[in-house]
């Protein structure tokens, strides 16, 4: 079976710096694959290449059979790869439910004329958007906060809202960039449950995370990057025992 997402020979160079160096990685449908590595290893750069924020210098990214590298982010989102951000990027002045409703944009179609004439199909669509958004807020445990402004939500809730917003776009692959950063153990546990639930809906999850307990507990596979190169890949157990991984995290002399 074709992998949901495959990254082939991906290289990203910024002038003299090679941030990502010939990385190969495949994510099978419905898996949770984590990407770990020390700070500056090139994880987020790899994410940016996958989601279209950077056009890779070499190599390609395919979603199913379709090559997506080099296409703009909004097209890639529509095709089925949606992300969250390391530093939360919600629409702060919009309410929680509106944030999620924006996520529905690429799955809805009401155009200018239909909107101006307020046709029945537009009304129906708008109602459907709202209902869908409400369901997702429920899933993320944010239903009581629906009308609060995003920027006034507690930190953990903001993280979950970002995930709900991403889910609204019906991704095949959901890319989460350090979703547990700065969370307390309780919030992390909630997040873990949420991620498992999302996988249960058949979404493939690509996760960057530093929180090792979380990574090792929920990942099907783990890839490790250091200095832009993928140095190991395997099940959580395999990776934890890999001498190269230990060296990358603890230093060479260890």
């Amino acid at each position: 079976m074709l992998p949901a997402l495959s990254i082939q020979n991906l290289t990203m160079r910024f002038l003299g710096l090679t941030a990502v160096d010939r990385v190969d990685l495949s994510l099978n449908e419905g898996q949770i694959v984590s990407l770990i590595g020390p700070n500056g290893a090139g994880k987020t750069t790899l994410f940016n290449c996958v989601t279209g924020h950077y056009a890779p210098t070499e190599g390609r990214v395919s979603l199913g059979a379709e090559v997506i590298s080099g296409r703009p982010p909004h097209t890639i989102a529509r095709l089925g790869i949606v992300r969250t951000f390391q530093n939360i990027r919600l629409f702060g002045a919009m309410s929680a439910i509106e944030n999620v409703m924006v996520g529905r944009h690429c799955r809805t179609r009401a155009g200018v004329l239909a909107t101006l004439f307020c046709t029945p199909s537009v009304k129906r669509e708008e109602r459907a958007i709202r209902e869908r958004a409400m369901d997702l807020l429920d899933l993320a445990g944010l239903a009581p906060c629906r009308d609060l402004q995003a920027r006034n939500l507690p930190y953990g809730a903001q993280r979950r809202l970002e995930i709900a917003r991403a889910l609204a776009a019906e991704p095949r692959v959901l890319c989460l960039d350090e979703p547990a950063a700065g969370m307390n153990p309780r919030e992390t546990a909630d997040l873990m449950a949420l991620i498992s639930q999302i996988r249960g809906r058949g979404v493939t999850i690509f996760l960057i995370e530093h929180h090792m307990n979380l990574v090792m507990a929920i990942s099907d596979r783990v890839a490790v990057m250091d200095h832009g190169v993928k140095i190991a890949e395997g099940t959580p157990d395999q990776v934890q025992k890999d001498p190269k991984v230990i060296a990358a995290y603890l230093g060479d002399e260890a």
Partner: protein, 409 residues
């Protein structure tokens, strides 16, 4: 990005007093000549000094004033919280009231009201791009010039009727907007403002020099007034109702857009362009759409303007007009339909009301603008969201919002 740049411009901290003074002086230059400009500059400077004095002398006092004007107990937040039945019924009631008032008003009042109505049309159009999409456009009046000249030329040379020219002028302006937007909308923030400013000037200068088509600075004379089945518009009252109908239509369109998925996407784009793009919002296309729609209404307003004046010249489309329309949008509250209408009406009536003190009216105008920017940067009747955006800037974000956000959308 855009809104941050804009906010930085609008908030105008006291440190930038000199900038404000020069800006208002320059703005007044074409209107009032050197004397007017220096008076305006002086008044602006005085007000800023007074503001600074209040701030330094009473550390708590300034905060109180701000809260009073900008926050909780202010007039606007009460208007924001209009009960649903009232906010639903207000527009039709207003429309009927204005229609009836049209019967009672004299020709002078009707003429002033019609001019105000044309400004409302312009402001509602500009609001789509500045208020909703958050792009700063400075040469907006040029689109109006395109509409006005479309009608003037088609009518005087080919006897095209007003009713054909009305959508055509709008469409042509929209096309110009689209063509201008294609290359320029990749620019962010201030750069876009500069390019559109240049476009406005280029349009005016072209109209001024293309003698064979536009008769240059002499303008175009003898434009026919609109007529329906042999009935020709001849009195101010006829134009009043025409403009009233168009304003109602524009307001309805704006409101519907604002509450649609497109309106939401515009706000999202304004808040965080990168995040919006990642959520599948095609930001470039949406910016183009906003630009084109704004240009369309500019063109429509231009056609109406030409049909009312029966004479147009490049002079009517100078930079000051663009600034006026932008001021209307900002004064009323960017992104808020009722606010923008209020702002446009106020600024259009202001010169008439200040006729008695004509020599000083620029001073009053400048003073009012500066006071407003200092104390109420979100506008007189802001949309609830803009209200929150600016409230954050005023440093009162610690308050937990108690408002029912869900009722509007």
């Amino acid at each position: 990005m855009e809104s941050r740049a804009m906010r930085a411009i609008l908030r105008g901290p006291a440190a930038r007093m000199a900038g404000w003074t020069a800006a208002f002086g320059l703005m007044a230059l074409p209107l009032g000549g050197l004397t007017g400009a220096s008076w305006t500059a002086l008044s602006v400077l005085l007000i800023q000094l007074a503001t600074l004095a209040i701030r330094t002398l009473s550390p708590g006092g300034s905060g109180q004033i701000r809260r009073l004007l900008a926050g909780g107990g202010g007039l606007s937040s009460r208007m924001d919280r209009l009960p649903v039945w009232l906010s639903r019924s207000l527009p039709p009631v207003l429309l009927v009231a204005l229609s009836l008032a049209g019967l009672a008003m004299g020709p002078y009042a009707l003429d002033v009201a019609t001019n105000a109505g044309i400004y409302v049309l312009l402001a509602l159009g500009l609001n789509v791009v500045v208020g909703m999409a958050g792009l700063l456009v400075l040469g907006y009046i040029a689109f109006s010039a395109v509409g006005a000249y479309t009608y003037a030329i088609l009518n005087t040379q080919f006897h095209v009727s007003f009713w054909v020219a009305l959508p055509l002028g709008g469409a042509l302006a929209a096309l110009v907007g689209l063509l201008l937007g294609l290359p320029t909308l990749r620019l962010r923030g201030d750069y876009l403002a500069i390019v559109t400013l240049g476009f406005g000037e280029i349009t005016r200068i072209t109209l001024n020099n293309w003698n064979s088509l536009t008769h240059g600075p002499n303008g175009i004379l003898g434009i026919a007034p609109p007529s329906v089945f042999g009935f020709t518009f001849s009195q101010p009252r006829h134009y009043f109702y025409l403009v009233l109908a168009l304003v109602a239509l524009a307001a309805l369109c704006s409101t519907r857009l604002e509450r649609s998925r497109l309106g939401r996407a515009w706000v999202a784009m304004r808040e965080d362009e990168t995040a919006a793009e990642s959520m599948g919002v095609p930001t470039l296309r949406l910016k183009l759409l906003a630009f084109t729609l704004a240009a369309f209404w500019g063109g429509v307003a231009g056609v109406v303007f030409a049909s009312k004046q029966l004479f147009i010249s490049p002079e009517s489309f100078n930079f000051l007009e663009s600034v006026m329309v932008l001021c209307m949008v900002v004064l009323g509250g960017m992104g808020s339909v009722p606010g923008v209408i209020l702002g446009a009406v106020l600024l259009a009536f202001l010169p008439e009301m200040l006729r008695g003190v004509a020599e000083y009216r620029l001073i009053v105008f400048g003073a009012a603008m500066v006071l407003l920017m200092q104390y109420r940067p979100q506008g007189l009747w802001p949309s609830s969201r803009r209200f929150e955006e600016f409230r954050k800037d005023l440093g009162t974000e610690a308050e937990i919002p108690s408002r029912d956000f869900g009722k509007e959308r």
